[in-house]
Amino acid sequence: MGERFYKTADGQSGLFFTALGAFVVWQASTYSIGTVAKMGPGYFPLVLGILLTIVGLAVTLRSIRTSQEAAAKFEWRSAGAITAAIVLSGLLLLTAGLVIAIPVLVIVSSFAAREHRWSNILWTSIALTAAAYLVFIVGLGLRIPLFWG
């Protein structure tokens, strides 16, 4: 007995492709298309969008017709923690400097792991900040602010 098609890997892929393809077709048609001989900026993306929509529909159709198992679980905690860590530390790098950004990276990303000991996190933050300073600022001479202001 298979799962609902939108829960399967193929079903979700199909829906993704179809949605993206439709979006591209919609956007590309607002750019000038031109002719086959003199292609405008919208020609190539339009063709790609149409092809992607067709592929998306085919994949979705196939997922409905064949019985499959559900896709692997989407670990929201891991995805959220890692992504948040990257985004936050990225934003803080310019404004607050390396000394704030790297520990934020380590601390926020540690929520992705199942267990975390604060002593480990502390030492890792210190070690990685020091390593970043030595490798990137001292070693490679990159212009990255160390502190804020």
Binding site: S13, A37, G40, A58, S89, G90
Partner: protein, 502 residues
Amino acid sequence: MDILSNLALGFGTSLQPANLLYCFVGVLLGTAIGVLPGLGPLATISMLLPLTYALDPVSALIMLSGIYYGAQYGGSTTAILVNLPGEASSVVTALDGHKMAQNGRAGAALAIAALASVYAGTISTAFVAGFSPILASVALSFGPADYFSLMVLGLVAAIILAHGSLLKAIGMVLVGLILGTVGIDGNSGAYRFTFGSLELTTGLEFVSIAMGLFAFADIIANVSHKTTGAPTVHKITSLWPTKQDFREATPAATRGTLLGSILGILPGGGAALASFSAYTLEKKVSKHPERFGNGAVEGVAGPEAANNAAAQTSFIPMLTLGIPSNGTMALMMGAMMIHNIAPGPQVIVQQPALFWGLITSMFVGNVLLVLLNLPLVGVWVKLISVPYRYLFPAILMFCVIGLYSIQNQTFEILVAAVFGLLGYLFMRMRCEAAPLLLGFILGPMLESNLKRAMLLSKGDMSTFVTRPISAVMLGLAVLLLLTVFLPQLRKKREEVFAEEEA
């Protein structure tokens, strides 16, 4: 220019102390990440790309390529010693290699793996050196229609050799092609898919996409259930293989080299496919197939030779035609473009020192790897006991700062974060990310060649089949697509992939 003077130029470049150092760093780093499960050459190279801005192009490419084929070595070391293959291409090595280790013959297994690899590396480097100039000179007579068809062939082959569903691989290539259109259109100056963002007018940075799809997505997928305990290591007794071993291993290594060299050139091919095919070949050819899985030397020599040969020859299409045969080659092309070198057949003419320097550095790198690996085995085993919870923040740190350093702005970090989430989503949906990257790299070239071909033929589509070279390319592409739908080959393809995933 004859081949001896080319090689002299090449060695003159690659043996310079600075380049030797970069080669050494590359293969050392490559071996290290090959040893570590989960971190592969693709993610590492994408991590280091921003840093190569500061280096000169030859040194950068020498180091990055060292990482690539060095990783093949590292993967086999842990596959043999602790049954933990660090790379997909080392999975088959573990089958017989670890059995040899359990029989007390770890040293022999390691030596066979290393020697088979350097044997294959030398021969395939010679192959690259001999074959590339011929291919490049043929390619110089290509017109835009021919280039277009060649790229289509490359993408079709990449689709076929990707894991899983063909339709989804086609979809991923299309997504990559679409992403390549983001930014200002060269001919008309129109803004495409920029949604008012200033940073997007120059298009998406492929390093951000690569890091997101491979490094970040990988971490998200692994972080919640990856730990590492200290694995049980098998003692290394005799370090050297017997005469019998050599007699059995040499023909296997030769077959592996040949097979690997051919498979490496195919777009979408690469080390993993080569090593699996070599193992299957050895089993078929052997007079005692029941020995396989119980410590047969050929089961180590063949795949190890094949994966190294494939790693070297996969440079050929990229260096001569400007067509990347796998994701790593796409990143190498990116590294060249960063230094304003347009990859393609003119590279061999305009930048001979770069071309021959890179090729000869592969030979140098192989030698360094043999000298490096046998003594350092103990270090590598220690390395894999590092718990993942210290490893992944370090990787994140390198990536974030690296991304910032591309344009000294935060935008690239945010783009990579988005692609990290997307990459994780793709993994859950079982869509291969590598075809997307290939599509992204080839997209702009595909479009410009299509436009030019249509301009030249005044809108006549038949130019793609009337021009001989283009017709051959497209014919091959159709043939490849047809072969996949033949039932026997379809089953074989699924078999190979099923073995890989097990």
